[in-house]
């Protein structure tokens, strides 16, 4: 698959920020009272994400490592301010209903997470597509939650009233608990779909705890022992579910041993051969 398209697919489905990575929960739960709010929040985040990813990627060799966080925040905050003024000018009603959550895009963990783990290590074009993918994934997530909540709480969809539902409004879904219920149900549905796809022989990469197996982007990388530094940062090959089960056991020669922090790890890598046999046996099946 084309690398850029792969980034979009990654954000939309594989590592969907709302349903898989569970990032940005604060706006997800707070603004999704209606579908239009969800789509508005998602799109404004997307714009900021794409632009900040591109700029941070372009500046990645200039920003000193020590001050990268303040630098990222300055970049993101600039774009958020621009977006905020544009929304205030052109979509005042949306601006009103999103309220405090527009300035709060600055500290949205999806944006900082992508800057830290992807944009600061990759060229501009892939970073842009990464931003588009993640942003659209977020938008789709928020819009879905918004649609379900709007139908249940207000009996309308994108503001259009569904007449048969007039007497059947459930106020709870317009409130915070309803957001949790809807999010939980959608994540459950998503997990079922993923499991079915895996059962059909299309193994989807399971997210490996931190950043989908891409340990190079993790700030705790040096301290973490549960990693496999076999992947390069710019291309994350699908992680086989078997690897997830035994992250230590990937029989990759010297790097693994070099990473071993204590004797236990050395022992494990010493017995690599038996694990390798296991895996080989499974793959034959």
């Amino acid at each position: 698959m084309n690398k850029n398209l792969e980034r979009v697919y990654n954000g939309l489905w594989k590592e969907n920020p709302t349903f898989v990575l569970m990032l940005g929960m604060c706006p997800t739960l707070a603004v999704t009272t209606s579908a239009i709010n969800g789509i508005g929040m998602g799109l404004s985040t997307t714009v900021v994400l794409v632009l900040s990813n591109m700029l941070i990627s372009a500046l990645r060799n200039i920003i000193p490592d020590r001050v990268r966080m303040p630098a990222f925040i300055v970049v993101v905050a600039s774009f958020v301010t621009i977006v905020q003024f544009l929304m205030e000018g052109f979509t005042p009603s949306l601006y009103e209903s999103l309220g405090i959550y527009i300035p709060l895009i600055v500290v949205n963990c999806i944006i900082l997470g992508r800057a830290e783990s992807y944009a600061s290590k990759n060229p501009v074009i892939p970073s842009m597509f990464d931003g588009i993918g993640m942003g659209l994934g977020f938008t789709v997530g928020l819009t879905l939650i918004g649609i379900v909540r709007e139908i249940l709480a207000n009996g309308s969809i994108f503001g259009a009233v569904i007449a048969p539902l007039n007497d059947y409004h459930i106020t709870l879904f317009g409130l915070a608990p309803g957001a949790f219920f809807v999010l939980g149900c959608l994540v459950a549905i998503m997990n079922v779909v993923r499991r079915n796809m895996e059962a059909k022989g299309k193994p989807l990469p399971a997210v490996q705890g931190c950043l989908g197996g891409d340990c190079s982007g993790c700030s705790l990388s040096s301290a973490c022992t549960g990693k496999s530094l076999v992947h390069k940062a710019d291309e994350v090959p699908p992680v086989d579910p078997k690897d997830v089960a035994k992250p230590q056991a990937v029989p990759t020669e010297t790097k693994q041993t070099a990473n071993a922090k204590n004797t236990e790890d050395v022992e494990k890598s010493g017995s690599d051969s038996s694990y390798a046999d296991d895996i080989a046996g499974k793959e034959e099946k």
């Binding site: 059947y168 459930i170 106020t171 709870l172 409130l175 608990p177």
Partner: protein
């Protein structure tokens, strides 16, 4: 002869009671309240009770079927949940809302957390609060003798309450909460059968009475006190829902703490909150505190001194 030689680990003395027997006792104890509710509010109350019980049992059955779990409707706990939920609803509530509340109580509050014994919150009250938040209009619309009117609890401020009517239950309110007398008859049945003990309801009512005297604004006015004790869901909640085995503490000191929590919270919600009623919220809120209460009130094991324990 082989019975005499049976070797097993403790406990050696077993009672015949199991979940279904206990639940049956609870249903029997709720019968006076239920019958009075039907007489008081008419055929509509019977319909709601039937709908709630049916949909609770059915949703437990269907959920267990759908996820491939063992069928547990035989332990009657779903039926008790349905009955308690119905007794907590006004008889004018639309049927579909009652069904929704029952499904929520069983599927979300009970089954998703692992079924009977695992739920962290009383399912019937969870369902009631879900309905109260979702359908504030219909859930607080009370009729008596075909006339819409306030419950005694809301009109207490005006001072015109008939405490005898409230004791017998000839007032507006939810199906099961009006008659303190019938609830007390049921409570005595439960206590005599050994299903519940008096600690939680006793401490609850005592704490609440003290709270009313201190903060109610009427001092030692017995009419006001009795009206507050018999009004709203306090009696029903204290005897039938606060004593739920699953969601109340098992340690002796914990039960006392739990009762105090309930009394204080009910008082705060009734006197300083927005709505007239606070029993449901007080009970489900205290349900959430139960794990903490149990943690700090674990009794000292015999023979272990406090010093040894703290050194662990």
């Amino acid at each position: 002869m082989s019975n005499l030689l049976k070797v097993s680990s403790s406990p050696h003395v077993r009672a015949k009671d199991d979940s279904s027997i206990i639940m049956l006792y609870v249903i029997i104890a709720l019968m006076p309240t239920t019958l009075f509710g039907i007489i008081n509010f008419g055929i509509r109350a019977l319909l709601l009770i039937a709908v709630c019980i049916t949909s609770c049992v059915l949703s437990e059955f269907l959920f267990e079927k759908a996820v491939g779990k063992k069928n547990t409707i035989g332990d009657l706990s779903a039926a008790v949940t349905g009955l308690l939920l119905a007794l907590n609803l006004p008889h004018t509530l639309p049927v579909w809302q009652a069904v929704l509340g029952s499904v929520f109580a069983i599927v979300v509050v009970k089954m998703l957390f692992g079924g009977l014994g695992q739920n962290f919150m009383n399912p019937a009250l969870g369902g009631r609060v879900f309905l109260l938040i979702s359908f504030a209009g219909t859930m607080t619309h009370f009729e008596y003798d075909g006339v819409a009117g306030p419950t005694p609890l809301t009109s207490i401020g005006g001072g015109n309450v008939n405490t005898l009517d409230m004791l017998i239950g000839r007032t507006a309110g939810t199906i099961g909460e009006t008659s303190a007398l019938c609830i007390l008859i049921g409570a005595i049945i439960l206590i005599l059968l050994g299903v519940i003990d008096l600690v939680i309801p006793g401490v609850y009512i005592l704490t609440f009475s003290i709270f009313v005297i201190l903060f109610g604004g009427h001092g030692l006015d017995t009419t006001f006190l009795v009206a507050h004790l018999c009004g709203g869901g306090l009696m029903l909640g204290a005897f039938f829902m606060a004593t739920d085995y699953v969601t109340s503490p098992i340690t002796p000191l914990g039960k006392v703490l739990f009762g105090i929590c309930l009394g204080v919270l009910t008082g705060i919600f009734r006197f300083f909150g927005n709505s007239a009623e606070g029993v449901s919220y007080a009970i489900i809120f205290s349900n959430l505190l139960v794990p903490l209460i149990e943690k700090i009130t674990v009794p000292r094991a015999f023979g272990i001194s406090k010093e040894v324990k703290s050194n662990e």
